[in-house]
């Protein structure tokens, strides 16, 4: 099983990360009841004999001794990381996995350091795929320079990431509201389930106040959970993480994937009788279920992946693809642009779930908006001096970043332009007979 290392950077990154580790542990605990350290667990956890000092304590087989997450926690403030170290997950990390500083970097650790790391990783491990889950600020973001940070980060993401799953806070917030509505509407026969993935008892972090952030982080953690499930568990149609980039990224820079999770109530700890399986597939393509504000159904698909968990067979998958295909628009050269995977282990407490990843031109508006906000600020050269103080930072960095983004937008534009045009088949090689 392919092993992966999670690098969680910044406050947001660390919060989501820890939520992910918590959920992953529960999932494995539910499946692996004998407590054997197996291939599945080894994909994201090391098994360590804590009595042995140094690196030699790793155990490759047998009983689980002490699991350590394959993770590196990075933040420039101590707060969040300290919080983790005092929480229930403290045993999953050891001190060697933590990098903190007290200097702080003013709300840009994730975007700045995180994206810088991409370049470092690329140089060091060129063969290893780099997936980035990046949270895009909403327009009402309280950090005034966030457009600058975002645009600079975008350049790094453009150049050094293999795959980016953009997520915006606004969408997460909307989804939370929807779940609340469903759960609280009382129309459905809901019961709270004792062992499911409960937001409120997620436990990784203090639960003094039920901030929407926790719920939002939980969604992202679930995204990661489903994304990696096929790498972590068995299935009749496995999908390795590297297959995602291979299948969904037709051109090196167009590696932004829109994700949607269904059914959404799997994210809540409620027992709702499953609707028809097919509904799950329909939902995945609806605007409401996207983790970014976008409407894939009315934009152009370059490629699409369906990652299914639970008791779903290949025939269900094929049937739904056939059913949904007519309503979706795929780029002319990739009319069958579907990548599918089946993981036999469903999320804890549910029968099945689906994660859809789409390489779709619908991400474009997010980028356009980002650029607009940046330009608004940049025209006035507002707050620019904060950046230019930093050694190595020059104004050209900004212009390069914005042109990189513009080029990306341009690529999407060109694809969109082909949307309504009938594309004739390109003449093939002609055999002389």
């Amino acid at each position: 099983m392919t092993q992966s290392v999670v690098v969680q950077v910044g406050q947001c990154g660390n919060q989501i990360g820890c939520c992910f580790w918590d959920l992953a542990l529960r999932e494995h605990a539910a499946v692996n009841q004998k407590g054997i350290y197996d291939e599945a667990i080894s994909s994201f956890f090391r098994n360590v004999d804590t009595r042995v000092a140094g690196d030699s304590g790793s155990i490759s087989k047998g009983k689980i001794c002490s699991l350590k997450a394959r993770a590196v926690l990075i933040d420039m403030e101590e707060g969040v990381v300290n919080e983790i170290l005092q929480g229930p997950l403290r045993d999953v990390f050891d001190s060697k996995q933590l990098i903190t500083d007290i200097s702080g970097s003013g709300n840009n650790t994730g975007s700045g350091l995180g994206t810088f790391l991409l370049k470092v990783l690329e140089d060091e491990f060129p063969e290893v795929y780099r997936f980035v889950t990046s949270i895009y600020p909403s327009s009402e973001d309280d950090v005034i320079t966030s457009p600058y940070n975002s645009i600079l980060a975008m350049k790094e993401l453009n150049e050094h990431a293999d795959c980016v799953l953009p997520i915006d806070n606004q969408s997460l917030f909307d989804i939370i509201s929807k779940i609340d509505l469903v759960v609280n509407s009382g129309k459905l026969d809901t019961t709270v389930k004792p062992k499911s993935l409960v937001i409120s008892s997620a436990g990784a972090l203090k639960k003094q106040q039920k901030k929407p952030f926790d719920a939002m982080n939980n969604i992202v953690a679930n995204l990661l959970l489903n994304l990696t499930s096929s790498a972590r568990f068995e299935g009749s149609l496995n999908m390795d993480l590297n297959e995602i980039s291979m299948n969904l990224v037709p051109f090196p820079r167009l590696h932004y994937l829109v994700s949607s999770l269904t059914p959404l109530y799997t994210l809540a700890d409620v027992n709702i009788p499953p609707r028809r399986l097919d509904q799950m597939f329909s939902d995945a393509f609806s605007k409401d279920h996207q983790l970014i504000r976008a409407d894939p159904k009315h934009s152009l698909y370059l490629a699409c992946a369906l990652m299914v968990r639970g008791n779903v067979q290949i025939s269900d998958l094929r049937r739904n693809i056939e059913r949904l295909k007519p309503s979706l628009q795929f780029v002319s050269w990739n009319q069958e642009g579907w990548k599918t995977s089946l993981c036999s282990v469903p999320p804890v407490g549910h029968s099945h779930s689906l994660l859809a990843l789409a390489n779709n031109t619908c991400v474009k508006p997010t980028f356009v908006e980002l650029r607009e906000r940046f330009m608004r600020l940049y025209k006035k050269k507002a707050h620019l001096h904060h950046y230019l103080q930093v050694e190595g930072m020059e104004e050209s960095c900004f212009t390069e970043a914005v042109s990189s983004l513009s080029a990306l937008i341009q690529e999407y534009n060109q694809l969109d332009a082909t949307k309504s045009m009938p594309v004739p088949d390109i003449p093939r090689l002609s055999i002389a007979v």
């Binding site: 291939e39 149609l237 642009g337 093939r428």
Partner: protein, 453 residues
């Protein structure tokens, strides 16, 4: 003579298991409807071909398992071991911790060369266990990355190292609607490379087998395991022992050689399709009786009308009047419905097999004009029944069966290639545009050759 099977990738390993399991169960079934002695000879023949000397009474499959991730291999090994009836060799597998990620180039240019020595050593060890080696079965998917890329690489190596041994690649043709997005690229690269290094490509289309599961086996929720079982059944029905010749009671020693000599001598025509009849769920089987005439009539119509199973055959399709050249007088659309054969192999198993009449397959109108049915039709028989079917017939056909799917794949890949989509994923690992063009050229020729039979 023995055959060494190389199972590659998830698909290859899952199917490989089912194939061995089918072969084993069938040869150990007491329902062969023949004498005990004959059954023993049948079993011995099957064993010599596919299994090694037993270890503590458990035969060991003559197979090498290769995958770039351990999950499927572990699963396969333990499934076989748990059966308690047969198993895989203790050290006959090779796996790594990183898959090829659906990238043919990664499998072919990175994994292949990197692990060449280990894999070839494993194969050699397996070969050394055979008193006599007939050839290799290489089971792989066409679209994945590991199976297809490493499969193509390994086949090429086998061609270099065992030039005289026969190589048959069992290829799984992906769903037309896609399971891997770059499947058309991977497919053309796989096919074109195999066309250079393999002797025959025995193709199973996922779509076709899927339909068989749904329509004939009555399976509601079809799993890959169901599909693989049907597939293994088809392969078993071809490669289980059959008599040497009419009236002979010796089993064929080198069926692989006989098959190839009769079906794929021409370098441009190497793609084989399999059809079999009857195929049904065990429940329905209990209430069914068959006659050879009925089975063969259906099988023939399946052949000429390009049907993938016995249900939904188009009975309107008729062979062109003999004497007329197949092209020309016929309206073009009509023409396309008729499936022209180059060569066919019909395998009959079961009761009263000697009474089966194969005149229907000897009609010259079924075949391309340049080959006489004497050269083009081969029949194998045994009265030993196969897998619970009192009578069964299989057909391995080198015909236009696959030309349309191939045309589709080449066309789609070409479209993608023309927009240069995904190419960077391949050039990253050394497969350049030139290589793609070579593949396109070769396959366009194959398509044209098949169309112009």
């Amino acid at each position: 003579m023995s055959i060494v099977t190389v199972q590659l990738g998830q698909c290859g390993n899952q199917i490989g298991f089912e194939v061995f399991d089918t072969l084993f169960s069938d040869s150990h079934s007491s329902q062969g409807l023949c004498s005990k002695r004959e059954n023993e000879a049948y079993r011995a023949s099957c064993k010599e071909r596919f299994f090694n000397e037993e270890e503590n009474g458990v035969p060991i499959a003559r197979a090498v398992l290769v995958d770039m991730e351990p999950k499927v291999i572990n699963q396969t090994l333990s499934k076989a071991a748990q059966s308690g009836r047969w198993k895989y060799g203790q050290h006959a597998y090779f796996c790594q911790k990183q898959g090829s990620g659906n990238n043919w180039a990664y499998g072919y240019s990175v994994h292949g060369p990197r692990h060449e020595e280990s894999i070839m050593n494993l194969i050699q060890k397996e070969v050394e266990k055979c008193d006599s080696l007939s050839g290799f079965f290489i089971i792989m998917s066409m679209a994945g990355g590991t199976g297809s890329g490493i499969g193509a690489f390994v086949t090429q190596n086998l061609q270099d190292q065992y030039a005289h041994s026969l190589k048959m690649n069992q290829i799984i043709w992906p769903y037309g609607t896609g399971e891997v997005i770059v499947q058309n690229y991977n497919s053309i690269l796989t096919l074109s490379h195999l066309y250079r290094s393999s002797d025959a490509l025995l193709v199973h289309e996922n779509d076709a087998v899927h339909k068989i599961c749904a329509k004939l086996m009555n399976i509601k929720q079809i799993s890959f395991s169901d599909i693989n079982q049907v597939l293994a059944h088809q392969l078993g029905s071809v490669f289980q022992p059959v008599y040497c010749a009419e009236g002979s009671f010796h089993y064929r020693r080198n069926p692989l050689g006989d098959l190839m000599e009769n079906l794929v001598p021409h370098p441009e025509f190497k793609m084989l399709g399999v059809r079999n009849i009857p195929q049904m769920s065990e429940n329905s089987l209990a209430y069914s009786t068959f006659t050879w005439a009925g089975l063969l009539k259906h099988l023939r119509q399946m052949l000429i009308s390009h049907a993938k199973m016995e249900e939904g055959i188009d009975w309107q399709v008729r062979p062109p009047l003999s004497g007329l050249p197949p092209l020309g007088k016929m309206p073009l659309n009509k023409e396309l419905h008729f499936n022209t054969s180059i060569a066919n192999l019909v395998i009959l198993r079961g009761k009263d097999v000697q009474s089966a009449d194969l005149e229907g397959f000897k009609d010259p109108a079924l075949y391309t004009s340049w080959l006489h049915p004497i050269h083009a039709l081969n029949v194998w028989k045994t009265q030993r029944a196969f897998s619970k079917y009192e009578k069964s017939a299989s057909l391995v056909s080198n015909s236009q069966f696959l030309v349309k799917p191939l045309d589709m794949i080449v066309g789609k890949a070409w479209n993608m290639f023309a927009s240069k989509a995904y190419l960077h994923q391949y050039t990253k690992f050394g497969i350049e545009e030139e290589d793609f063009l070579d593949s396109f050229t070769l396959l366009e020729q194959v398509v044209a050759s098949y169309y112009n039979l």
